[in-house]
């Protein structure tokens, strides 16, 4: 593999300066399998990647299996309550040691030759050990650990690079929007315990990455939903999501973005009473009361009006509305998306059930929104086959974008400064040489 990589870089190095300009990017970035492989190494197997939430391994012995980029990992919780990230590969002959998506186990036994490991990854047993010789110590053959692991408010991230900036530094100001999401719970905690909707599409992973911070598409791709909303509730979505919206698009650094709808939501809240649609009133009162107990009446009301962020942590996790969403690249033209509705700790079951129904309206393979996005990703990939002029344009707001005192790039909601930010960071990562991580 190292030889193949060296060949790629020495003879066929991709000219990322030529492919990524401030106001446009080249179509090749979305379909070239060599670029996809390079992204795995230089982005996904290097930066902090979201793996899972601590609530998914709530009990000692709980585990889930995920991938960091293309590499399979197991996230476990040991008997002392400690969370671990190990590679899902037997240290003996490389068998995937756990094929279940989740479960509870004190140890993992490889079905191939019976090597056994505890949920910290330590090797416990090697059958017929004698033949390995006197000097053999099973302690020298643990499951490989993900080199770095850290968590923020229950969100566990792993980095396959042994060196690099801390998670705190990586997330930067994005943490305040993680807080906005989690603080909707009166106990300040969310739980991912309500299942996962799984979606696939024939398109590059960056189509989802760019779609999430792109508010411009909403009024067109989702016209059917916007029209339905207007007919049913009288709510004119263009006031929130269109040119007149007071909402902003933010580029937060390190590829992270947020669409800050709080100003729009506050304006709407002034015009209407608190929107209680779909929520049982008594349960909502209890929810409000619980929030007030923790934060006081003013802040509690603010939390409800502000709602969720529209946050994307590069390269793979989204916190918005009721959901935590993960992006899983498969190949240059295939991607999986995982939606997990988040339950709020400390609210009545009716509130969480109503969150599920609200979520399903738009987000599901059979929802009123997500399938149309997926359809656009597919058509996007088809359009990329036209190669006379291969540029994709990213100019919206380029003359009005400003940078605030914290270095956050601020534009209008339906501008594209946040996408330009993602591409600047992408280019920075892709221009770094392989093995620049101290290996």
């Amino acid at each position: 593999m190292a030889t193949a990589q060296a060949l790629t870089t020495s003879t066929l190095a991709t000219d990322y300066e030529g492919l990524i300009k401030e106001d446009r990017v080249h179509g090749r970035l979305y379909y070239d399998p060599a670029i996809f492989q390079e992204e795995m190494e230089k982005i996904w197997h290097r930066v902090w990647v979201y793996v899972g939430h601590e609530s998914e391994v709530a009990q000692p012995g709980d585990y889930i299996t995920r991938r960091i980029g293309l590499q399979p990992v197991i996230m476990t919780r040991d008997e002392e309550g400690q969370v671990h990230l190990v590679l899902n590969r037997c240290s003996h002959r490389a068998n995937m040691i756990c094929v279940n998506e989740r479960g509870n186990a004190n140890f993992f036994r490889c079905p191939y030759h019976g090597w056994t490991f505890n949920n910290r990854g330590e090797c416990l047993g090697v059958p017929f050990k004698k033949a390995y010789g006197e000097s053999f110590r099973r302690e020298d053959f643990p499951l490989a650990k993900v080199p770095r692991m850290d968590a923020y408010r229950g969100f566990v991230f792993g980095s396959l690079s042994p060196t690099g900036i801390s998670l705190d530094e990586y997330l930067g100001v994005a943490v305040r929007y993680i807080d906005q999401f989690v603080d909707q719970s009166p106990e300040g905690e969310i739980e991912l315990c309500a299942g996962t909707q799984k979606v696939r599409y024939d398109g590059n992973w960056k189509m989802q990455l760019e779609n999430l911070p792109d508010a411009y598409h909403g009024l067109f791709t989702h016209e059917s939903f916007m029209t339905l909303m207007k007919e049913k509730t009288g709510l004119d979505m263009t006031l929130i999501a269109g040119e007149k919206s007071p909402a902003t698009s933010l580029y937060l650094g390190h590829g992270h973005t947020n669409l800050d709808f709080r100003l729009a939501n506050r304006q709407m809240a002034k015009a209407m009473t608190l929107n209680l649609s779909g929520r049982p009133n008594a349960a909502l009162q209890t929810y409000l009361a619980a929030l007030e107990k923790r934060h006081g009446p003013e802040r509690a009301r603010q939390i409800i009006i502000d709602g969720s962020p529209h946050l994307q942590i590069f390269p793979n996790v989204i916190l918005m509305q009721k959901q935590v969403r993960r992006i899983q690249p498969i190949s240059a033209d295939e991607t999986y998306i995982y939606y997990q509705p988040a339950f709020l700790k400390g609210v009545a079951p009716e509130i969480n059930a109503a969150r599920l129904r609200e979520h399903e309206t738009f987000y599901s393979p059979a929802g009123f929104g997500n399938p149309d996005d997926v359809e656009m990703f597919r058509r996007n990939q088809l359009g990329l086959e036209a190669r006379v002029n291969e540029w994709l344009i990213l100019r919206r707001g380029i003359e009005t974008e400003r940078v605030d005192e914290e270095g956050v790039h601020v534009g209008h909601l339906i501008d594209e400064g946040q996408l330009r930010g993602i591409w600047r960071y992408y280019k920075e990562l892709m221009l770094q040489p392989y093995n620049s991580t101290g290996e």
């Binding site: 315990c193 299942g195 979606v199 696939r200 939903f225 029209t227 599920l356 393979p365 059979a366 009123f368």
Partner: protein
């Protein structure tokens, strides 16, 4: 007046044809006012109050679903899928309070924009007589791949 097997089979075949041919309003008229249309996600016996679904529609959301499908701008069904489903293994599970619970299998080839998907699963219908005709009060569709990464599922299943 009991509901006989012949009526039930005819109902299921008629419903299948309406779905295959995108006769949205006629399909909607098969539902009772207390309708529940349920496609579980992740596992066959998921509890919709505690677990996310692929579809969990009451009457109001069913109507919204149909309104959207008829809008002409529900792009994941523009153009429509071509479908011909086969309903088989029909088993009457039980009869109570004038209602009948029927289980059946389906296999559904779906063709859209050069790609053919094969969908399959088991359906549970709760049927009752209303104004002399059979209606659906509850329909649960158990896809064999409800825990897999799915493409768009915007047609009627």
């Amino acid at each position: 007046m009991t509901i006989d097997r012949y009526q039930i089979e005819n109902f299921l075949y008629d419903e299948a044809r309406l779905m295959d041919e995108h006769h949205y309003d006629e399909w909607l008229s098969l539902w009772t006012d207390d309708a529940i249309y349920f496609v579980p996600c992740g596992r066959d016996d998921a509890d919709p109050t505690k677990e996310v679904s692929i579809i969990y529609d009451d009457r109001m959301r069913l109507e919204d679903r149909i309104t959207r499908l008829k809008s002409g701008v529900a792009y994941a069904q523009e153009p429509n899928s071509r479908m011909r489903r086969v309903i088989s293994n029909i088993q009457i599970e039980k009869r109570e309070n004038g209602e009948v619970i029927v289980n059946s299998n389906f296999i559904l080839p779906e063709l859209r924009l050069h790609r053919q998907n094969i969908w399959a699963g088991r359906t549970i219908h709760k049927l009752r007589l209303e104004n002399g005709g059979l209606k659906m009060a509850y329909k649960k569709v158990i896809l064999i791949n409800n825990d897999e990464e799915l493409p768009e599922l915007v047609f009627l299943i």
